[in-house]
């Protein structure tokens, strides 16, 4: 899922400085699960901002709401009245939610209250690790199900590099060496043969390097159905 974390309060305060009535809009999906932008965090941030702005001598109003998925128009439509009534929207969704809101309500500015961090997994209570970089050309079948693109600091396809020591990455002792993990896993599966071949240069065109990406499924498009019927 998408992992995010709340922006520092001071940054949020400066973003909303020019607005009186602020709708804090949470999202019920990924950011709820990672405790960054769900209903609970909307409430906590609203309280913190009420207190902080009052101390600063401002008299701002904060409205609280949370939709199920801010990245889809139909869910945001449910709170259209609240959006209308606010001077600005402070979104606690990921960057996709923030952009959906700005597209859907072009007359209202929606600000990001979170920093969208990565695609990851909760590894223990309160700890999330990156797992996928959405490179668009999955190599997990070659690497024992451990992603070197997202988890090796240099995204090596022929690791581990010379900086792997005691299972850790030279970049930071908090980071597990992805290639040590891959080696251990392939050894356990008796598939070390997969590490013996030189993996060729990756086609990055399916990654962000190919420009903004888009998937079109003609079989799912409503226009497709209409064309067929006509």
């Amino acid at each position: 899922m998408i992992i995010a974390e709340q922006k520092p309060l001071d940054e949020i305060k400066s973003m909303i400085a020019d607005y009186q009535k602020v709708l804090i809009l949470g999202c019920g999906t990924c950011v709820t699960i990672c405790f960054a932008g769900g209903e609970k965090e909307v409430g906590a941030l609203a309280s913190a901002l009420r207190m902080a702005t009052r101390l600063d001598g401002q008299n701002k109003e904060f409205i609280e709401a949370t939709v199920q998925r801010q990245c889809e128009y139909e869910f945001n439509e449910e709170v259209a009245d609240l959006i209308e009534e606010a001077d600005v929207v402070l979104s606690l969704a990921c960057g996709i939610g923030v952009q959906t809101m700005n597209e859907q309500f072009p007359n209202k500015l929606t600000l990001p209250g979170l920093n969208t961090a990565f695609l990851g997994q909760p590894v223990e209570q309160g700890v999330w690790d990156e797992r996928c970089q959405a490179c668009g050309d999955c190599v997990l079948y070659l690497t024992g199900g451990i992603c070197p693109i997202a988890r090796c600091s240099k995204s090596l396809l022929n690791g581990p590099c010379g900086g792997s020591q005691n299972g850790k990455c030279e970049v930071n002792p908090e980071i597990d060496c992805a290639w040590q993990l891959i080696y251990d896993r392939l050894q356990a599966l008796d598939r070390l043969d997969l590490m013996m071949e030189v993996k060729p240069a990756k086609d990055w065109s399916t990654s962000r390097d190919g420009g903004p990406r888009k998937i079109v499924r003609e079989d799912l498009r409503l226009t497709f159905v209409e064309e067929k019927q006509s």
């Binding site: 240099k154 022929n158 581990p160 792997s164 020591q165 013996m196 240069a201």
Partner: protein
Amino acid sequence: MKAGSNLEKVLTAGYFAATGELGPPQSADTAVIEKKAGYLKGYVDAVNITDCQTAVVRMSSMAVAVMLLRLGLEPTMQMTCRDRNRIAIQSDLLGAAALGIKNLLCLTGDHQVFGNHPTAKNVFDLDSMQLLSMVKGLRDDRRFQCGDEVKGPEPRFFIGAAANPFADPFDFRPYRLAKKAKAGADFIQTQIVFNVPKFREYMKRVVDLGVHEQCYILAGVAPIKSFGAARYMATKVPGMDVPDEIVQRMKATPKEKQAEEGIKVCVEVIQQVREIPGVAGVHIMAIEWEESVAEITAQAGLLPRPAV
């Protein structure tokens, strides 16, 4: 001959090779390069020019390599994947070959987090293995990475790669070296060897795989300047293996004699690795202490360097 460099000639003639290293300045200063080149000229067969090592901005490897050529030394240009994609690398390789550079060391490169621009965006379009394949493809198949033909003279390099016998997992390291040879490495320069028994075990496995017959393996060595430097390398540098006995030996040496002792340790390591089957030479990394190379090579019996 693949590129006809001096280093290639020395190795193919069966001599025990000695290479050095020169770190470019963090400025446009040419005098310092001339000074360092003077410390190395005549003592080594080729000189590696690092490519912004530890991700600190320095004068470009290609520029310094050309200066070395003018000064009558043979450069080994280092090329990393950190700052350049396959387009920029191949462009630089055409330029380097045109300028007369014949040795190329292919590296993935230190992560920028270690350097003086930790907020930079990195590239890592290729890894060192894929870089080796690309350089070999340009030379032997006259093909760019995309498959297009090189129309005209192709860039011909004597291709080098690095290996760290002391990194984990130890059991995989000889196989990774074999992969580098298969990808295109003609010669290998290893991480600095202080732990000779561990290196000996590594080389035994490398020889068992026959990799020493596919490429020339140069053992990395370096003089330690002080007890502090020994302790730093032992505890702070990832992928370095400095046995405690060497650290203690430096500690037990009076401060004013530590540099001399460090050179002695380096010479002893050279003499030991020279006896290990499969070792074709040494790569002396006396970065910021280039003036020690004359003494190291003399004491180790590596002089005069062969004229081939």
